[in-house]
Amino acid sequence: MSRMIINRRRFLTGAGVVVSTIPLVGCDALDGMLSDGATVREAMAKANDLTYRVQRFLIGAHSLAEEFSESEIRQGQRPNGSTDPTDATYVALRNAAFADYRLEIAGLVDRPLSLSLDQLRNMPSRTQITRHDCVEGWSCIAKWTGVPLAAVLDEARVRPEARYVVFRCFDTMNLGLSGESAYYESIDMLDARHPQTILAYGLNGGPLPVANGAPLRLRVERQLGYKMAKYLRSIELASDLAAYGQGNGGLWEDLGYDWYAGI
């Protein structure tokens, strides 16, 4: 019988060789390749386009995000990002209980609009209990009430060349080197016309609190939380995102996050 009886010295030598190669591929060795704008990172980020196309193909235009029953609302909606904007225009509006608030709809539309909160509340409304998924990894279920974005877009008569809806916000975030920047976000027309895409003014049966984006925030239920801009100031229809911020379609996108956040 020829058997492989373990030879301790040979085993330890082999183990030593394997273990000693591990630090060679230590993690900070890769940092340079992965910094913003680096070729390797840019190439890998193309996987997001693939995810976007494949998910759009798989889930279709009209599939609905799961909706839950009242009993699943077990806590308040966790606020994240800006929770108390200090922009002077915003503070003035908030101090007047948003009585003078107007949502501007402009860009590639035939009928630019300027809507007050009462006008928005008098439009058709939709209430949905959905799960908010943050890019950080947590989830929270809450009830959102608002006007479907599609209804507002129809009112403004979107021109056919429009491909994106861009949301401009009151809150500015101080994000290191790039300095103070106003929050903005963008979605494609397919998500914009999705039945669950609403401009929400209500949360869990009450008015939308300041911490959660008062007076008006976006809900895009098939994407992650950072797409759902809070403190909406205006909506612009655009054929291209290059003119906004650094051209990546959103403030977080300008900082390296993927534009498509369906995953």
Binding site: M4, D31, Q55, L58, G60, Q75, R78, R131, D133, G137
Partner: protein
């Protein structure tokens, strides 16, 4: 398959066979690279919210947490790394929660040497993770198709009835470090590869997809079968730990059973077997 018989200096008869097909070797090493980056970028993503929960949502006003890794300032002003698993608190300062050199501590769940990039950067962690997730899934699909065609799946991976019957014996041989180098995998090998390839890998892909809000709209059955998005995230993490466990045993076995021969079989495909064992030994 069989090639030249060569006499070893120790007098034992051995011969070299072609062990692993090209598809098996290519997919093996692609997985090795993909899983390495998936692990390190996954830990980077985990660090953005270092808690795991059971159910659909994360409890902030209630407690459904099963694991959390935090930096907590104690009464004495010292910051401690505290890992809480199923309600049990452990001090993990230096590794989990608080790590790095004594004079410049970093407050992060997993330490810098276990994440890509080494610094906290969720956006880049996601870019790396989803790139390699695509590579991993594409490799899995290629492996499945190739292994069905070339017979690898039926011949080497799926355990037969006699493999299962022979498990206690196979187990005992492994414990005594007695490895028979035969043409086919032994029962324990078949079962561990079958579990990793046909259970862990698909579950890893599915729990990953369950965390995608778009997939929840397109395939709501995903959250149904895993018991909610946060449970899926917990299972995804657990599978990571199981794969690390598999990796440790896998490497240990390669070293114990003859690293040169085993490595060669996964690089060139050629594997030296014990001659007597090919002649229908009783353990087949």
């Amino acid at each position: 398959m069989a090639t030249a018989i060569d006499k070893q200096h120790d007098g034992a008869d051995r011969r070299t066979i072609r062990r692993h097909g090209l598809a098996t070797r290519i997919t093996h090493w692609t997985w090795a690279i993909a899983l390495y980056f998936l692990l390190l970028s996954g830990l980077q993503i985990f660090n953005a919210h270092p808690s795991l929960y059971i159910g659909e949502q994360s409890g902030f006003a209630f407690d459904n947490s099963v694991l959390s890794i935090r930096a907590v300032r104690g009464a004495d002003g010292e910051v401690q790394g505290v890992t809480t698993a199923f309600g049990r608190r452990m001090d993990t300062t230096g590794f989990l929660g608080v790590s790095g050199p004594e004079d410049s501590r970093a407050y992060r769940a997993f330490p810098a040497w276990l994440t890509v990039p080494s610094y906290q950067d969720l956006a880049t962690g996601r870019v790396v993770h989803f790139f390699f997730a695509w590579l991993f899934a594409a490799t899995f699909l290629s492996w499945l198709v190739a292994s069905l065609i070339n017979g690898h799946l039926l011949r080497d991976i799926l355990p037969t009835f006699s493999d299962i019957r022979g498990l206690p014996r196979s187990f005992a041989e492994h414990l005594r470090f007695r490895f028979r180098h035969r043409r086919s995998y032994n029962g324990l090998q078949k079962i561990s590869y079958a579990v990793v390839l046909l259970i862990f890998f698909p579950l890893m892909i599915l729990t990953g997809l369950t965390m995608s809000p778009a997939m929840n709209a397109g395939a709501p059955w995903l959250t149904e079968i895993f018991g909610g998005r946060q449970t899926a995230r917990t299972i995804h993490f657990l599978l990571m730990l199981l794969l690390i466990g598999f990796f440790a045993i896998h490497i240990f076995m390669v070293l114990a059973a003859g690293p040169i021969n085993e490595m060669r079989s996964m690089v060139t495909g050629r594997f030296r077997i014990d001659l007597e064992a090919t002649e229908g030994g009783p353990e087949r």
